[in-house]
Symmetry: D2
C-alpha cells in the first residue's frame, strides 16, 4: 500500500522528520512509503496512496506560506477525499506554534474530505496527541531533533498500520 | 451498524441538531442511529457504535463546561479509539464560536484515537467544512435553526455512509 | 489617530466588510481610518496607525494564501508590536471557517507583539466574540453581507474607541 | 499596580509556572503580582488588577474541566473587560496540546473583552509566541520544568511592563 509524506522544509529539520515518519511507515508489512518536498510531489504516487501525512515548520505559529499555497492550489486537485490524513510540524521553541500548524493542516485535510488520524492515546505510550512535533536545537540548547526521532517513527508506523487495517 | 450522536443542550437547539443528524444517518441503509444527552448515554450502545458524533453549544466560544467534563471523565473510558468521529455545534451569533467548539471536539476525538471525518468538499455541495453549525434565532432575526436543518441531515447521511463503507 | 483596515478580497465581500469597519471607526471622534488591499498598503500610514484590523475570506477554513504570504513577508516588517490588533473574515457558509481565519490572524498578531482586542461581551450587545464575520449570499439564500453590516460597524467603532482610550 | 496569575494545577507544575511568572512580573518596578489557584482567588485583588494571566495544564489537548468551569462561572463575573490578558500552559509531551490550551484561554479572554498580549517577537529573543509553555519531566526524560523557567520569568516581566506602560 502506497503512503506519502509531503513536507515543506527550509533548513532540513522538517525533511528529516518526514523521513523518520516514512521509516516508521515502512516497518508495517505491506507499506510502501515515500517522502516528497512540495515542489517535487509525484502526483501519480499520491493519487494511488491511501494515506497522506503533511508537515510544515512553524512560521510565526502558522504553516509556511509555500505550504499554504500548495494546499490551496495543488492539494485540492489531488483527490484526497477518503484517504487517511495526518500532520506533523517542527518549531524553534517548545512554545513556537507547531501544534497550531498541525491543527490547521488537519482542518484543511478535513475540508478535503480526508479521515484524520493520529492514534492519540489509543495505542499506548507514547501518546501522540494530534501529530508529532520536533523542536530543533537552533535556539533551545536542551532540545534538538534527535529527541523526537522515536515519536516520528512510532507515529509513522501507527499511521501505516491503521491505513492497512482500513483499506487492505 | 450502530451510530451515536451525543450532545449537551441547554435550550433545545443542540438537541434538535442532534436529532436532525440522526435522521440523516438513518437514511443510510444499514444504519441504526440514536441520540443521547451527555447525562443519559447508553454506554453499551456507544461501545458497539462504529461512529460517534459529539455536539455542544458555544459558550464564550468554547464547548460547555459540562461537555468538557464529560469528555474528560467519561468519553475517555468508552474505548472510542478507531471509531469514526464527528462534531457539530450551535451558537447565538454567526461569529459566536461554533467552529472553535467543533475544532476542539475533533481535537479531543483525535486524542482518543478516533478517525475524524466531515466529508468536507469531497461529497459535492453543500460543502461541510469541519461539521455542521446551527445559529438559533434568539439574537439574529434573520437566523434560526430551520435554516440549517438540511446541513445537519446531509452531514449525518454522509457520515453514516462513510462508517458503513469503512466498517461493514 | 490613524487606524488601518487591511484585507485580501477576491470578489468584493471582504473589501465591503473592511469599508464598514472603517465607517464604524470614523464614528469615533479623533479617528482617521483608512482601508487597504494587501497589494496597496500605504506603509507610512500603517506605521503611524495605532490600531490595525486585518481580514481575509475563508478558503478551505484558512486565510487566503496571499494573506498568509503578506503576513509573513510584509506585516512582520511593519513594526506592529504594541499596536492594537483586530481581525475579521468572510465565508460562503455559516460553518465555512471564518472563525478559524480570525483566530489564526489574531495568533499571528500576537506573535508580532500586538494587543489583540475584540470588545467581546464587555460592550453589551451585540457580543462580538473574536471579530465580525459576514456570510455572503452566494450559497446560502437566507444569508448575505447586508445582514452583517451593523456588526462590522459596531466592531469598528468599539475598536477605535479602545485605541483612542489607550493611546491618546 | 496589581497583577494576578490564576491557575489550575494538579501536580504542582502549573503552580510552579505561575510563581515564575509572578517573579518576573515583580521585577518590573511598580508591579505587585500575586498567584491564585482557581479555588482560592482573591476576587478583590483580581478586580483591582490591571493584568491577568491564566494557566492550565493540558488534559487531552484542552484546558482542565475545572478551569473551563471556572472561566465560565466565575471569570465572566470578575469584570475582566479592558484588562491586559495573558495565558500559559504545561504539558507532559512537547506535542501535548499546551499551545491549544493557551489559544483557547486567550480566545475566552477576548470574549471577556480583554486585551490579549504575549510580547511575541517584538521584545527580541526569546520570542514568546502566544505564551510560555513548560514540559514537565514525567514522560520526556530530556525535559523538565527547569528548562522553561526563564521563559516564564521573561514573559511575566514583559507582561508587567506592558501593563504599566498602558495603565500607569
Amino acid at each position: 500500500m502506497k503512503l506519502a509524506v509531503i513536507y515543506d522544509s527550509k533548513t532540513g529539520n522538517t525533511k528529516q522528520a518526514a523521513e523518520w515518519i516514512a521509516e516508521g511507515m515502512n516497518l508495517a508489512e505491506g507499506a510502501e512509503a515515500r517522502t516528497f518536498a512540495i515542489g517535487e510531489v509525484d502526483e501519480n504516487f499520491v493519487a494511488q496512496s491511501q494515506g497522506i501525512v503533511i508537515g510544515s515548520p512553524s512560521y510565526c505559529a502558522l504553516m509556511t506560506a509555500d505550504m499554504r499555497t500548495w494546499l490551496l492550489t495543488k492539494a485540492g486537485k489531488l483527490g484526497l477525499g477518503g484517504k487517511l490524513g495526518g500532520a506533523f510540524a517542527t518549531e524553534q521553541y517548545t512554545h513556537g506554534g507547531a501544534e497550531l500548524v498541525i491543527q490547521s493542516i488537519l482542518t484543511n485535510e478535513l475540508v478535503f474530505g480526508m479521515l484524520c488520524y493520529s492514534g492519540g492515546a489509543s495505542q499506548g505510550k507514547p501518546v501522540i496527541h494530534m501529530g508529532p512535533i520536533g523542536v530543533n536545537g537552533n535556539v533551545e540548547s536542551h532540545n534538538g531533533m534527535e529527541h523526537y526521532r522515536d515519536y516520528f517513527r512510532v507515529y509513522g508506523e501507527r499511521f501505516a498500520r491503521k491505513a492497512l487495517e482500513l483499506f487492505s
